[in-house]
């Protein structure tokens, strides 16, 4: 049916099967779009946010998708700047995941503001002291980079590629991709960092506040580093999921292991830095403001010490070690567990840096504040997931995303799903 669009030599499921899958996920997407419409029409009272929780689920989702989308810039950096050639086999997919993550983040930001029609004020009337300004500028600019990085892949579609101009354009863009990748890395460094800065600069919130270098708190660097470290985990996890669903091997193990190894070292180094940061914060920064670490964790509520231990040890140190040790890394099950733990860990870190910051009382007579999102918030947070699945399905179906696919699947005409 749509065979003319499908990459040459690639096997894809039948179009009706594909369409049914898209419709199912599309229904979830529409639910999210409906919630989004409701929020734009009626305002943020549709959420369960309140004056204590001005930042809540959405900001977490933003931080989380951008952190896991960090695979794009880091893989790009490794591929184009450090010239690790094997990574060309996964860079396309990393870019697509990054594109999905960043477009989702921008969409969520557009929902999250009380006056969407004034959203452009953040650019026009920018306050350069605000970390959020930095986020907005770098995020938008980096999204442009991602789009640029994504375009050649789109132009490689069988039909598009027949247009000489597109063919040349794709070729030329490949030629100078290193320049874009470098710009992307530069921008990513700042926006990943500034997202960390969002919490770290809050000197009124001792739970979040960190000292730092010049105007940048330590969370700035920790966020950049952690996004670079855990981003590839997410890329590889999604690759694995795609492989499972399509029933095909798409990326060779050596490529996966290479990226996993790099990620493992990054994670381990990050976790060491994070532990040092946590210790310094708990013993120096917070006490200097009159806070014991015990002030920040409740006994019976949601925010117990478990969250700290889970984030740093279970979902940080453990995946890091699994991925640096050859034997465990090359065990597919353990590797997968490490990816999953890593993604949970980074998301948990972003959760803590957004929601726990809001939950902890600062004034001595204030109380812990807890919050549970409304269905509208949940629906709009699931929306990007549905959108991501659809975009991955479409790109996988019509674009030559995985250069190794043909080689790996040349002889086995296995039945595939979607």
């Amino acid at each position: 049916m749509d065979s003319a669009l499908i990459p040459e030599g690639a096997k894809r499921c039948s179009f009706p099967k594909f369409a049914i899958g898209i419709v199912i996920v599309g229904a979830v997407l529409l639910w999210g779009v409906f919630a989004m419409g409701l929020i734009w029409w009626k305002g943020l009272n549709q959420t369960n946010m309140n004056d204590y929780y001005g930042f809540a689920l959405w900001i977490w989702a933003d931080l989380a998708v951008i952190a896991v989308g960090g695979g794009a810039f880091f893989t790009g950096l490794l591929r184009y700047i450090f010239n690790i050639d094997e990574l060309k086999n996964i860079i396309n997919f990393a870019v697509i995941i990054g594109f999905i993550c960043y477009s989702s983040a921008l969409l969520i930001l557009a929902i999250d503001i009380g006056q969407p029609l004034r959203g452009w004020f953040i650019f026009w009337h920018a306050n350069v002291h605000s970390m959020l300004t930095e986020v907005a500028f770098c995020l938008s600019a980096y999204f442009a980079v991602l789009t640029i990085e994504f375009i050649p892949n789109i132009l490689e579609n069988r039909q598009a590629n027949k247009v000489p101009f597109f063919r040349h354009l794709a070729h030329n863009m490949h030629g100078i991709m290193a320049v874009f990748a470098a710009t992307g890395a530069f921008l990513s460094f700042f926006h990943q960092g500034s997202l960390g800065g969002v919490a770290g600069v809050l000197f009124g919130r001792p739970f979040a506040y960190r000292e730092g270098l010049l105007i940048w708190p330590w969370t700035f660097f920790l966020f950049t580093w952690s996004a670079a470290a855990f981003g590839p985990c997410f890329t590889l996890l999604i690759t694995k999921i795609t492989e499972t669903i399509t029933g095909k091997k798409l990326v060779k193990d050596n490529v996966v292991n290479l990226l996993a190894k790099i990620s493992g070292w990054m994670i381990t180094i990050y976790i060491i830095a994070k532990i040092i940061d946590t210790i310094y914060w708990a013993t120096v920064t917070a006490p200097s403001l009159g806070f014991n670490i015990s002030h920040f964790y409740t006994n019976n509520g949601f925010y117990g010490y478990w969250i700290l231990i889970t984030e740093i040890l279970v979902c940080g140190l453990v995946p890091g070690i699994i991925l640096i040790m050859k034997s465990t890394r090359e065990n597919p099950t353990l590797r997968l567990i490490a990816f999953i733990l890593g993604v949970i860990g980074i998301c948990l870190n972003r959760w803590v840096m957004v929601l726990q910051v809001m939950a902890v009382p600062v004034m001595s007579f204030d109380t812990w504040a807890l919050y549970f999102p409304s269905w509208q918030e949940i629906a709009t947070t699931i929306l990007p997931v549905a959108y991501g699945i659809i975009l991955i399905s479409v790109t996988y179906r019509y674009l030559p995303v995985f250069p190794q696919e043909a080689e790996l699947n040349a002889v086995e005409p296995a039945a595939e799903t979607e």
């Binding site: 006056q115 029609l117 004034r118 452009w120 004020f121």
Partner: protein, 709 residues
């Protein structure tokens, strides 16, 4: 040349580029954000010239001077009036929120007549004719005394007009709601003789011994009390607060003396006993005491020794002796009474016992003490003309001495007691104890006329509503009272033209009187209330109209006040709480709520803590020791002999064990979503307990139990 895809591409790109270079994008982006800055549904208040008009607030007996900021003749803000003799620039939250009453959703917009369960609009002329017709029939039937009135107060010219109407009509059944002023007069009558009232010189006292008087809870003239209390810090004056719960006053006091509910009278007498025993009293003062000083002293030494008193009240004997010493030795001590706001149920024994402390230390009519003054008589009405029906009817006995007795009489009598009822500025269906029985009594009255500005609980029971202007819209004389040391009469002025089709209640009464014809009409020969006001206040009118107020008296009265202890010397029994459950439910007065007269404004209820009102649930306070099996913040059921209520529990260490505190002023049931249908009316749970001897409803609370819901 073939029009191909490139042509379309060119067309599209050209269009995009053309629009992009044109100002459309920039302008629309800018304009759309400006649109969000000026949404048509967000009001834009009109600007204009600012003027200030002074008036007097009559929401409560405090009668504070207010200054109303008006823009282009539109009132926008109420503030306290500078240099006003009562409140000197200060204002309370209810007064400041006063403009909200003007546009209150529950306002009666035009005269209403009940038809079945519903109200129908009716013209003023028809309404007056209807009321006059009914009254004329009642008068013709020969029992004019079956016409009753319930007002908020006796003072002022509007009350004067009502009283005059009743007298000329021939009915003695004119009632006022319990108020602090009424208790002051009752206390003065019991000790000093009729025709007097009491003022407390709090701003000069150096030791205030308060028996539960909520000095910063809205007691007395609230703003005046706030100021007197605040100046304690500079004056180094002390405040001891005696009550079962840590009220704001108790928390602000130098010492909080927790006491078992309902035993303040005993403690006061116990302190009297110590003062007498230790010879700490002012012998010059006691020399002229009448009514058996020795008998009184002997009774105290027998029944109120420190240890006995301690047992009754729960206050340690040593503390009783210490407090007695501090009080008696202070230079300018004053003992104040009137639990809470002072307008709830009170026992005369308690009022008299506390006031006796003042008499014993000789602070009557001294600076920083208690002023025993003659009732404020600035009004001079011309003589009524009475026909024979009026004479005969007016001479008949009242159906009951106080409101609660009237209610009881109506409910218990098989014959009709009241045939027609006027209600003005009073909401007995909400603010009297056991509201169910009050509503039952009102249900037995065939014809009820309400003068309310709002469709409140009592107005809803009425057959005709003749809506009054709010205090923002009307002119009226507002005498101070409520324990204020000075006597000031203020003038409320119409600072806004009437928003709805309402009238000044004075005008309404005059119209009804005129419609009744005959001698009644002859007694109301004014053209309008304005004319009447000017006439009856002639003595102070110049000052009223020019300054907005007239000071009738200030400083300590010169004339001595006789003291008669006969009421107490027989040691009347102390009132006990109704029922036999293990705990005592007491009402708590909260400055941010209103429990009598008006009801709370949207602004004021917004300030109420979530430890008082949470959603639609009232929160009761209870000491964790008493709260066995209950969860802090959880639901519970309170049961009293007269009702049950579902509440939320808040553990509060500031409550004496064994006591449940429930705020007064919630649980309204009328059409105002901002303030109504929130929580429970504590008066639904507490029944009246009549004090033998005084006839007052003296229920300080009620026995209750609480269990997990």
């Amino acid at each position: 040349m073939k029009v191909d895809r490139r042509s379309f591409l060119g067309l599209g790109l050209g269009a995009v580029a053309g629009i992009a270079v044109s100002p459309v994008g920039l302008k629309l982006t800018d304009d759309s954000s400006i649109w969000t800055q000026n949404w048509p549904w967000t009001p834009v208040p009109a600007d204009g010239e600012v003027i200030y008009e002074s008036s007097v607030c009559s929401l409560c007996p405090g009668s504070c001077g207010i200054s109303v900021r008006k823009i282009e003749n539109r009132p926008v803000k109420i503030e306290g009036r500078e240099n006003y003799p009562v409140n000197n620039g200060g204002a309370c939250l209810h007064g400041i929120a006063g403009l909200q009453y003007l546009y209150d959703p529950a306002r009666v917009k035009t005269p209403l007549k009940k038809n079945g369960d519903k109200f129908e609009e009716i013209s003023w002329d028809d309404a007056i004719a209807l009321v006059a017709g009914k009254l004329a029939d009642l008068r013709k039937s020969g029992s004019p005394e079956k016409f009753a009135a319930i007002l908020d107060k006796e003072q002022g010219s509007v009350s004067g007009l009502f009283k005059r109407l009743f007298k000329t009509f021939g009915s003695p059944n004119f009632y006022t709601m319990p108020s602090f002023e009424s208790y002051l007069e009752a206390t003065a009558a019991a000790i000093h003789g009729e025709g007097k009232t009491i003022g407390f010189d709090l701003e000069n006292a150096d030791f205030v011994l308060s028996f539960g008087a909520g000095i910063i809870e809205g007691w007395g003239s609230p703003v005046n009390c706030f100021q007197a209390n605040a100046s304690r810090k500079e004056r180094r004056a002390k405040l001891y607060q005696i009550e079962p719960n840590l009220s704001n006053t108790a928390a602000n006091a130098d010492k909080w003396v927790p006491i078992k509910p309902g035993t303040q009278a005993d403690l006061a007498l116990g302190i009297c006993a110590v003062i007498l025993k230790n010879n700490l009293f002012d012998s010059n003062a006691t020399m002229n005491f009448k009514g058996g000083f020795n008998k009184f002293a002997a009774m105290l030494q027998k029944d109120y020794t420190p240890s006995k008193t301690a047992e009754i009240t729960g206050v340690k004997a040593a503390d009783i002796e210490k407090i007695a010493g501090l009080f008696a030795k202070a230079k300018k001590p004053v003992a104040v009474f009137g639990k809470g706001r002072g307008d709830g149920a009170q026992s005369l024994k308690e009022l008299a016992a506390v006031h006796t402390l003042n008499c014993l230390v000789g602070n009557i009519n001294k600076k920083g003490g208690v002023f025993v003054k003659s009732k404020n008589k600035y009004l001079e009405f011309p003589d009524e003309s009475m026909d024979s029906i009026a004479d005969a009817g007016f001479a008949k006995p009242k159906a009951g001495r106080y409101m609660n007795q009237l209610v009881e009489k109506i409910n218990s009598s098989s014959k009709s007691v009241v045939e027609a009822l006027f209600v003005y500025n009073a909401n007995p269906c909400y603010s009297l104890h056991d509201t169910k029985s009050v509503k039952q009594a009102l249900g037995k009255i065939p014809f009820i006329v309400s003068f309310s500005s709002f469709l409140d609980e009592t107005a809803k029971e009425a057959d005709i509503i003749l809506p009054s202007h709010t205090f923002i819209e009307r002119i009226e004389d507002v005498p101070s009272g409520a324990g204020l040391a000075k006597t000031v009469v203020g003038l409320t002025k119409p600072v806004a033209s009437p928003v709805f089709n309402t009238k000044n209640p004075g005008d309404t009464v005059i119209l009804i009187a005129k419609a009744l014809k005959g001698s009644i009409a002859q007694s109301f020969e004014w053209e309008s209330y304005n004319e009447c006001l000017e006439g009856v206040t002639a003595r102070i009118w110049d000052s009223l109209s020019e300054d907005g107020y007239a000071v009738i008296s200030k400083g300590a009265p010169i004339e001595p006040a006789a003291v008669n202890l006969s009421f107490l010397s027989g040691n009347p029994p102390t009132v006990q709480a109704q029922g036999d459950f293990g705990l005592t439910l007491i009402p708590i007065d909260n400055m941010r709520l209103i429990n009598a007269g008006a009801y709370v404004s949207p602004f004021a209820i917004k300030t109420v803590s979530d430890k008082v009102l949470k959603g639609k649930n009232i929160v009761v306070e209870i000491n964790p020791l008493t709260a066995k099996g209950l969860k802090n913040g959880g639901f519970a059921i309170i049961t009293t002999p007269i009702g049950t209520a579902r509440v939320v529990v808040n553990f509060n260490e500031g409550l004496m064990p064994g006591v449940i505190g429930m705020v007064e002023g919630l649980g309204h049931t009328f059409e105002n979503k901002y303030v109504s249908n929130k929580g429970v009316n504590v008066n639904d749970l507490i029944g009246p307990v009549i004090e033998s001897g005084s006839g007052l409803d003296a229920a300080f609370g009620i026995k209750a139990k609480i269990s997990k819901a």
